[in-house]
Subunit: 315 residues, 2 copies
């Protein structure tokens, strides 16, 4: 264990460990088990928002402010696992090369996994590793805007929703799902026309949703490319963290996180079992033949198998 | 059953049925069971490619050519299930309003479902319904480029990979995963500079991969906005369909489709069971508490539960 703890401090070894986790290579579970017992100390910040909102630049500026304070920072960028890996994603990352010589900064991309069940498992596990590695902050930035990424962000302590004027026409569409998980709104590129309107719109939507809520969701105007508003943002992040610590919210959040993680792990395990199980080979061939011949339908057959799983044994 | 068959012919009733399927509303499984036994006649065409390749315009033009021949066409557009529903997606759809009065054309968007396990189940099921409804062609168009959408396209009979000059710099990145599932390459916007280069690049990559393959993957140049090359494309689509019918490939493809569908259904069922099962409530609370207290880790606990599932009962 001591050696793993040491390895996690070494950026290059950390990278290799994360690759092991990501690819589900031999020994990954032992690493995760050990990491789990050393996790729980990092502040985990989710950064989400539509494409073009400047999330990467914001992340980059935020690293700067947090580093000035002496905090160590890990960034996990969640890329949609795409066969079409776009140039833009890479371009955004390049900005972060500013920190490539800083040992207290670690930047990593993770593809969301498209495999059924295995979805997001890796991202959630990488967070556990980074947490065990002792980073003060873990910034989880979504590149894409899919449900997968939002699901990952839901598991963070503090969620920043980054919006920009101009894209804001669609703020009504944002209401479903994402508005309620935002702990801090960031109006980035706020030197652009329309930023006051966007702030008012957010305020209005918040006013409809907020009664009864104890946390007063702040709206921070930033110009990330000029480092404007980033200090204020970091103050609000700390405020929010203090807030969730001062009541039982952090416990609740962690329970939810563990609950999601656990269910995903169970599903991942079952998926592997189904893939490698008796359904492969001759039995499966028979089943598929029966579908082809329309002797039975996959809906009924799947139902029967699900029924046959004995769940009473769950402890 | 007669009434369901009739309902499927009525576009408005069909829409309602698909909504029932998509939302997993009461009775959805009975509908699917019935549809399954009436499915298997449609030609299912997948249309995928990076954003900006003009997939929607191509789909729209293709509908035109297929309609001229008297074929009925259903379009299923797979949208990434996003809280940030972009205006672009809607804009693309609007072009298809040309066909809004044509009863032999049905256009539907389906969100890929982000829920673990439930992923893509709905899309695959909607295809079954459209198939049972008797459409000659089902065009499955991906809007996003996530793994989810690619997984859906994998289940079609013929996969069109749409590329455009200019975006083509990243063709190397495409090789992994997507190149091998393409049955027809479409170089769209081929009046743009660089289209010959793109064709050559594709030819080169195909030359590396194709030996031993019986199907000679064609590369079709189109300008979808001007309906150029679309007739040729439709001919190649038919050729490919004849090809897979003339050997056992279509059977193999259907088996693969059923296999994926079946496994997803099993996972979806298990997911529901896990969500509603004994893990909810007091038991789950105990488990989560034990994680919080670091008395045990979720990796080991999940493993134990997966082990406890009795798979020997699988028939």
């Amino acid at each position: 264990m001591i050696s793993l703890q040491e390895d996690l401090k070494d950026i290059r070894k950390l990278s290799r460990i994360i690759t092991t986790i990501e690819n589900r290579q031999k020994g990954y579970k032992d690493i995760l088990r050990k990491c789990f017992y050393h996790s729980g100390k990092s502040k985990i910040i989710g950064i989400t928002g539509p494409p073009g909102a400047g999330k990467s630049t914001l992340t980059s500026s935020l690293i700067g402010v947090l580093r000035e304070e002496g905090s160590s920072v890990a960034v996990l960028a969640i890329d949609p696992s795409s066969s079409f890996s776009g140039g833009a994603i890479l371009g955004d990352r390049i900005r972060m090369l500013d920190y490539s010589l800083d040992e207290k900064v670690y930047i990593r991309s993770a593809a969301t996994r498209g495999a059924m069940g295995g979805l997001c498992v890796a991202a959630s596990d990488i967070i556990t590793v980074l947490d065990a590695a002792g980073f003060d902050y873990i910034l989880v930035e979504t590149v894409g805007v899919g449900q997968d990424e939002i699901d990952v962000v839901k598991e963070t302590d503090t969620v920043l929703l980054v919006l920009v004027p101009g894209l804001g026409d669609d703020i009504q569409a944002l209401k479903a799902g994402i508005m309620e998980i935002a702990d801090i709104f960031v109006v980035n590129k706020s030197d652009r026309e329309g930023s006051d309107n966007l702030v008012r719109e957010i305020e209005y939507i918040l006013s409809l949703a907020e009664h009864g809520k104890k946390w007063n969701t702040p709206i921070i105007k930033t110009v990330a490319s000029k480092n404007e508003g980033i200090k204020e943002l970091s103050i609000q992040i700390k405020k929010h963290f203090d807030f969730i610590c001062s009541n039982s919210l952090i416990l609740q959040k962690r329970k939810e996180r563990f609950s999601l993680k656990f269910k995903r792990l169970v599903l991942e395990g079952l998926e592997t079992k189904i893939k490698n199980g008796p359904l492969k080979g001759e039995e499966e061939e028979k089943l598929l033949e029966s579908f082809i011949k329309k002797e039975q339908d996959p809906y009924t057959a799947a139902e029967e198998i699900v029924e046959s799983f004995i769940l009473e044994e769950l402890q």
